[in-house]
Symmetry: C2
Subunit: 79 residues, 2 copies
Amino acid sequence: MSTIEIEYCVPCGFLDRALTVEEAICRQFADQLERVSLVMGDHGVFVVRVDDEIVFDKADDDFDVDDIVRQVRSHVAAR
Amino acid sequence: MSTIEIEYCVPCGFLDRALTVEEAICRQFADQLERVSLVMGDHGVFVVRVDDEIVFDKADDDFDVDDIVRQVRSHVAAR
């Protein structure tokens, strides 16, 4: 069972993106997960971690929900 | 800063309720929170905890988002 963190910049208004990603992840992988956390951040952060490993960082890649879900799938499936 | 857990029954299909509660909490209290977690559960569970203290349990009370938000507010504000 994996744990996922979605750290998002609160003042940037990234909550909607965080919720969109979280909902997609929960719908697809709930049976393989223990918890999915929204973590409040700032300074433009938007990072998704599976078991403390970064699978998406807005600083490195364009935001794409489907791509993030694919990244999560490959990491969750590897457990 | 507080942490919140929303434990929901996955097979019951309580994800939508969990997301609704989480979104309401994040919109109102993000500045006072460190993280909000969805925790996967079963057997009909729907429990909301603020810093490990139960503020809503579906086994005891009717589901009402506004009421849950009020409960969260009173516990977060008390920090």
